[in-house]
């Protein structure tokens, strides 16, 4: 009973409440309160997640499992940032100052370590977009050829080469020039494809949400029937 029926019932009540809050006036607080409740639960869940992270790495150090020195780095970095942040060490206004105040240790870890690491991981995409293009855009079949063709036209359209390549076109055929063609693809075919996908996703979300609210989809509580 506790394992499946009660949770499913709660999910249904919360889901129906939120849908009702959308269709009926005077229930605005439902939305704001429930989203704050969710954020609080997600914040409390950090204790489980963060706690498990530290326990896992400490366990790895204790048992000297391969790569254990790196676990020390993770635990030390974690505890240093956590303590610096929770106790607002080095914060000019003390407890009342914002946690990211200039000069605080927490802000230093952000500027010196968090920011460059994040920006550099993000920049790896420049390399991967190139290797993916090289590998994926091959005219294996019709679909792959269309993928390749569209990507090439848009890529060329984004550089002066695109314009040069088709500048010889007579005025009457100007619409076939690469810059015009790439604009046309973006505003018609790309639009049609995006619309079909978005409408499909809308249906998928509506169907999945309904099945969850009405307890039809409950495999997240385990496959066994209640």
């Amino acid at each position: 009973m506790i394992r499946v029926t009660l949770p499913v019932l709660l999910t249904s009540v919360i889901g129906l409440l939120l849908v009702a809050a959308f269709f009926f006036r005077g229930m605005d607080r439902v939305n704001s309160d429930l989203s704050e409740y969710f954020n609080i639960i997600a914040a409390v869940a950090f204790i489980l997640g963060g706690g498990n992270l530290v326990r896992m790495h400490l366990d790895k150090v204790q048992r000297r499992r391969p790569g254990w020195p790196y676990s020390i780095v993770t635990v030390v970095a974690f505890l240093f940032t956590l303590i610096a942040g929770l106790f607002k060490i080095g914060n000019a206004q003390g407890w009342t100052g914002p946690v990211e105040a200039q000069g605080s240790w927490f802000n230093f870890t952000y500027d010196a370590m968090f920011n460059p690491l994040q920006a550099t991981m993000f920049s790896l995409l420049a390399f991967f977009v190139a290797s993916a293009s090289y590998r994926a855009f091959r005219a294996r079949n019709v679909e792959a050829t269309l993928l390749l063709g569209a990507a090439l036209i848009i890529l060329l359209g984004r550089t002066f080469v695109g314009g040069l390549l088709t500048s010889w076109l007579p005025e009457r055929l100007a619409f076939l020039s690469i810059p015009n063609l790439s604009n046309w693809i973006m505003s018609t075919v790309n639009l049609a494809g995006a619309r079909a996908i978005i409408i499909g996703i809308g249906l998928g979300v509506i169907s999945t949400s309904l099945k969850i609210i009405l307890g039809i989809e409950r495999s997240y509580l385990g496959g066994r029937e209640s």
Binding site: P7, V8, L10, I14, L16, V19, N31, D33, S35, Y37, N39, I41, V44, F46, I47, L48, T74, A77, F78, L79, F80, T81, G85, W95, T96, V99, F106, Y110, D111, M113, T120, M121, A126, V129, V142, E143, L146, G149, A150, A151, S182, I185, M186, T188, V189, N190, L191, A192, A194, R195, A196, I197, I198, I199, G200, I201, G202, V205, S209, L210
Partner: protein, 228 residues
């Protein structure tokens, strides 16, 4: 450049090089940067959650004087008893740590999943389903200011491209015969739009790398003169 920023520039530059070294192959430098990033970022978000959610919204509203040391402004507000509910669900969630009571934590998950279903249902119903139908309805011919063949062809491509794209997503009908051909045309439309979207975003990705290289350039030119 004073000591603080100079130190930050050096730490940032070294970490940048460590991450980029992954492109050659996995190595101790990358693994160090990765472990550091996991530790720093996990704690960063935990601290943010504590100071921006738990303190003001849970403890600050449940019993304001409790947080007056950090948020004096809240001290005067009346306690909101309704905050017992999220506190209760938080405790239920933490029951996972107690083996024989662990299944009670499902109630907290149930609330989260109910919240997801409820909010996503109405948002996608409005902005991603109904309004997309409204925007897809357009005349198949362009006559303002004068009849334009190009405009008409474009309108036809958009409307029938969308319809054939939708046909591709049919689950419960065999994609054979005429239905199969329309579905085939649909996947062609999808493939062209994927290729175009891919090509269009390449520029945004390259500018990310340009930014990092400009930073390394500043490090090389300014980093090696000791500040002050």
């Amino acid at each position: 450049m004073t000591l603080g920023p100079w130190l930050e520039m050096w730490v940032g530059a070294l970490l940048t090089l460590m991450i980029l070294s992954f492109l050659y192959r996995d190595n101790p430098f990358y693994r160090f940067a990765e472990s550091l990033f996991v530790g720093v970022s996990a704690a960063y978000w935990m601290v943010e959650a504590f100071w921006t959610t738990l303190v003001p919204n849970l403890f600050g509203k449940l019993y304001p004087p409790m947080v007056s040391f950090a948020l004096p402004a809240l001290a005067k507000n009346p306690p909101q008893i309704s905050r017992i509910i999220p506190l209760l669900f938080g405790v239920l969630l933490l029951l996972r740590l107690v083996p024989h009571l662990a299944h009670w934590s499902r109630m907290a998950m149930a609330l989260a999943i109910g919240f997801a279903a409820g909010t996503n249902l109405v948002r996608y119903l409005e902005s991603d389903f109904t309004s997309q139908i409204g925007q897809s309805i357009r005349p198949l011919v362009v006559t303002q200011p004068a009849f334009s063949l190009g405009g008409t062809i474009s309108a036809l491509v958009v409307v029938f491209g969308t319809l054939s794209g939708l046909v591709y997503f049919f689950f419960s009908k065999e994609h054979k015969g005429a239905f199969g051909k329309v579905s085939k045309f649909g996947i062609y439309v999808l493939m062209i739009s994927f290729g175009a979207a891919f090509g269009y975003t390449v520029m945004a990705r390259i500018s990310l790398l340009t930014g990092r290289m400009e930073f390394l350039g500043r490090w090389i030119s300014q980093g090696f003169t000791f500040p002050g």
